[in-house]
Amino acid sequence: MLLEVKDLWVHHGRAPALKGVTLAVSEGSLVALVGPNGAGKSTLVRTISGLKRASAGEILFDGKRIDRVPAHKIVGLGIAHVPEGRRVFPDMTVFENLRMGAYRRLRSGKLMLRDSAFDDDLALTYEHFPRLKERSRQRAGSLSGGEQQMLAIGRALMARPRLLLLDEPSIGLAPRMVQEIAQVIAAITRRWRVGILLIEQNARMAFRIAQHAYVLETGQVVITGATDALAQNEEVKRVYLG
């Protein structure tokens, strides 16, 4: 198994945000995590990527414990996190943002920061996001919301991840852009064989592209299963697919 989360507890101060969450993502699969605001979805991915510490439970990547690994070492293991709100570097160009994604592979003290492997990754990333290539010299802060989301995903791909954590990629985007992002996410799973944990409020979109889904409510997994089965579940239909 690529990612295993076992009975994970996380606290914000004294208040528990996650109360024993168990979840798994296998290699090359697309898993959706849906649920209402404040259910703890972001807390879960922030804990996986080391930005937050677990108070109990285990996180395993490739069967190895990673819940004590500092955040800046997580990406080196093969986990890239696209945070909520995109969080691109606003005063850097599109190209510079993508280069930061490959930060660990850049050579120290070198003035010329690129090599052929880097250029290959860049070409592949531009293939998914032709618009980023057109805008490579533009300031990231001046991009539209959808373009910034593409840049955030592209930046994560530059790290050559085996697991991609996507936190609310569709939030605040126009319906057409949501479609485009959904297609790209599906394409990435097929093309790069990376496992994806997709957090979405837009469960309709998430269910269409994911094979498996977890529903998180107040820090606990309440329902889990294959998405086509879940889509028939009356409760899920009523609450999340409206």
Partner: protein
């Protein structure tokens, strides 16, 4: 030609202010902390050069280099001991830098005494330009060292891996961590560079200034002013602000005499009223 000399003076002042201000701005942009002890690291740098050159007979330029490294390392140590445990807590960190300031000033008074020290310039004479402008050699030397140092810093920040990491941390600390950047290491590196540049500036200005343990206070106030003028956290802004402030002060000294600081500070306030985010700052 009076104006020519005033202009060269402005450039020299501006370049040394830039060395000091760029460090303050760099540390602020990475750590969101105003390093109030920055001027006191400057003062330590000056004493370091002074004693190395006068007591130990070290060559002036070698002393400059040693002082920069030593104060840079001190900056890293201070970061490790005092600032790292408070990472992300901006206000407590700032109060801690005030504590560091008091600690350094007290120790310096004990160690060096309060009497004025004067340093003999390593170069003498003057250079004539176009038979009309006469510039004392030491001022040319200051400009000749400070300008390349600033150029090197720019090269580092915009062309090296670590420099790019500094920019990333300044723009979004968490997103930077997610790219694999070790924020603690980058902060330490920022403290090293900022402190070393302050020490270099202090050593450069040593031949034209009187040295006492009290020189740090006014320096940090001026540097802070310059950084605000240029745009808080912007490195090009710190340089532009320094050049502008150097010009204001240099012209002020010539035309307003003893009121030059008053004139310069008033001008800065006037600029900030119309452009509150500074010359190159972003809203």
């Amino acid at each position: 030609m009076l104006y020519g000399q005033v202009a060269v003076n402005a450039l020299m002042l501006g370049a040394t202010y830039a060395l000091i201000a760029v460090g303050l701005s760099l540390v602020f942009s990475i750590m969101r902390v105003i390093q109030f002890a920055h001027g006191h690291l400057y003062m330590l740098g000056a004493f370091c050069v002074f004693y190395l050159a006068t007591e130990l007979g070290v060559n002036y330029f070698a002393a400059l280099f040693i002082a920069a490294i030593a104060v840079g390392v001190l900056g890293m140590v201070l970061d490790r001991i005092f600032l790292r445990p408070l990472r992300g807590q901006d206000l407590p960190s700032m109060i801690v830098t005030l504590g560091i300031l008091l600690l350094i000033e007290g120790s310096a008074l004990l160690a060096f005494g309060e009497r004025d020290k004067r340093f003999r310039s390593p170069v003498d004479g003057a250079v004539w330009f176009f038979d009309t402008i006469v510039i004392p050699s030491e001022r040319l030397m200051i400009l000749g060292v400070a300008a390349p140092l600033i150029a090197l810093l720019f090269l580092f920040v915009w062309r090296s891996k670590e420099g790019q990491a500094m920019r990333a941390v300044a723009q979004d600390r968490e997103a930077a961590m997610l790219q694999g950047i070790n924020v603690d290491w980058i902060s330490a590196l920022g403290m090293f560079i900022g402190s070393a540049l302050a020490a270099a500036a202090a050593g450069l200005l040593l031949p034209i200034q009187v040295l006492t343990p009290a020189v740090g206070g006014p320096v940090v106030i001026k540097a802070f002013m310059v950084v605000i003028l240029g745009g808080l956290g912007s490195i090009p802004g710190a340089v532009v602000g320094s050049l502008a402030f150097g010009a204001l002060e240099s012209f002020g000294t010539t035309f307003f005499g003893g009121y030059s600081s008053l004139a310069a500070f008033s001008a800065v306030m006037l600029i900030l009223i119309f452009r509150p985010r500074g010359l190159l700052g972003r809203a």
